[in-house]
Point group: C2
DNA sequence: TTGAAAGCGCTAACAG
DNA sequence: CTGTTAGCGCTTTCAA
């Protein structure tokens, strides 16, 4: 029977048909776990992302999945809500489930986790982050450079009081790199006034972040947001602040892919 | 060893420690497949959605997953790109992987699939759709009623030339119900002019749909969109049509949760 | 409290 | 080409 399903060409016509009939009649479905155990391989790649609520991850996974499918692989997803402890748990879970390899977001995690993966012989690919020097392969962007370039441009426009609404930086090298790029630009251009607000991803937290920034300390004339999700949260809240020009705002409403928000004249 | 990990209290202290040490030293990780095979149960629920690109599904799954986790269950996700054949494949895959139950989107699928699930003894829950009469449990909304109510309101505002940008209706009971609700409202209010455009979910297709609607036939004064993703696509394109008032448009830009787009005065 | 062994569903190797 | 069997890693009896 096993041969019949896996190497149908090595089987005599009539035997194959007999088996096929039985399969249909019995509603047979192969048991993946048993197969995996026998061949010691699952053709499965595990992917662990912070959250599916950020479309950037959801879309990335969708594409990854389709590509894997094309090559006969299956993707297993898990999400961590940006919590390192949950991530570790998910990694262990996926390895236990026999993932042949793992897709991970960002480089930053406890070394024991990498040791664990090494012992288990499970290869991993880091994405949404790139580091030449890392021991593992990675593919991603240079967030620090991107942020540096953007900040330079904004500062050149005359903005000196800047704000950054960022995801929590701890264990998030993307957020860290963006902050770094911004700080570097400010240093090299001798601009000193930066207000950083770290926020969680909840609806409420995101909304509050913008108000907080506008209310506390010297009000920035330009606010950067670490990503689209944060930007949308800030945008919605910005609508309540009359100092923000309608035109600018309307344009921004369309630029959902934009990473920064300009507020008023410097 | 098995006992040690599963019923540690039935084990003598020193034996347990010995095992624990070995676990650490060897970097042991339990094999999920083997366990599942032995206990004939995976504590895993499979979830199959059309696409993760629609945030409504992604967010729903995120919540579902967190709740499952809380109860010691794991979620396995798969997506179908709205293709019935892929959905069937994914269902079989998840069943093969030993999913204890399945979460499915919408009721509409080939009866053989339900037969298959019955034979395998895999229970399923249908969501994003509700049907009292269905043999399976389901939880969802009454799209037809919602669309009916909305359409009635819009028609009352004086709009008679209506448009609907919809996902492909085949095998998608949500899209079907929305169309039905719209048609019913029009019938009962004696309004006859409806132009329907079905579109795929690709970026390009979505953008084209709106232009197509504006160019062909009697131009509608109100366009409904089946969901947020379609609405955003239409909105972006609508920006190019000058007949659309800026004010309306700006408001709409903010109402990303809105299901319909009003265009011009009726 | 521990050791031993059967068996979960499958594949691969070997013999016929 | 087909039948048979060992063994994948685990749990669960059953004995000791």
């Amino acid at each position: 029977m096993s041969r019949c399903l896996n190497y149908p060409d090595q089987i005599a016509e009539h035997t194959r048909l007999k088996v096929q009939d039985a399969v249909e009649a019995l509603g047979y479905s192969p048991n993946f776990g048993a197969r995996a155990m026998a061949v010691r391989r699952t053709n499965t790649i595990g992917a662990i992302i912070p959250t599916m609520e950020n479309a950037i991850f959801a879309r990335g996974l969708q594409a990854f999945q389709e590509e894997l499918r094309r090559h006969g692989f299956t993707m297993l997803v898990a999400s961590t809500s940006y919590r390192p402890d949950i991530e570790e748990e998910q990694i262990r879970t996926l390895v236990a489930r026999g993932a042949d390899a793992l897709l991970l977001i960002g480089h930053e995690r406890a070394p024991e986790i990498y040791d664990f993966l090494d012992m288990q012989g499970v290869p991993s690919l880091v994405t949404w982050a790139f580091d030449e020097d890392a021991k593992r392969p990675s593919v991603g962007f240079d967030y620090a450079a991107a942020m540096h370039e953007m900040a330079t441009k904004v500062i050149d426009l005359g903005h000196h009081k800047l704000g950054l609404i960022s995801a929590e930086v701890a264990w998030n090298d993307r957020a860290g790199a963006r902050l770094l790029g911004l700080q570097r630009a400010m240093t090299s251009l001798n601009t000193g006034d930066l207000q950083v607000i770290e926020t969680k991803y909840g609806i409420e937290e995101r909304a509050v972040a913008f108000d907080l920034m506008m209310r506390s300390g010297p009000r920035p004339t330009a606010v950067f947001c670490g990503n689209d999700v944060l930007a949308m949260g800030a945008l919605r809240r910005a609508a309540n602040w009359e100092s923000i020009s309608q035109t600018t705002f309307r344009q921004l409403g369309l630029m959902t892919l934009n990473l920064h928000i300009l507020l008023s004249q410097p």
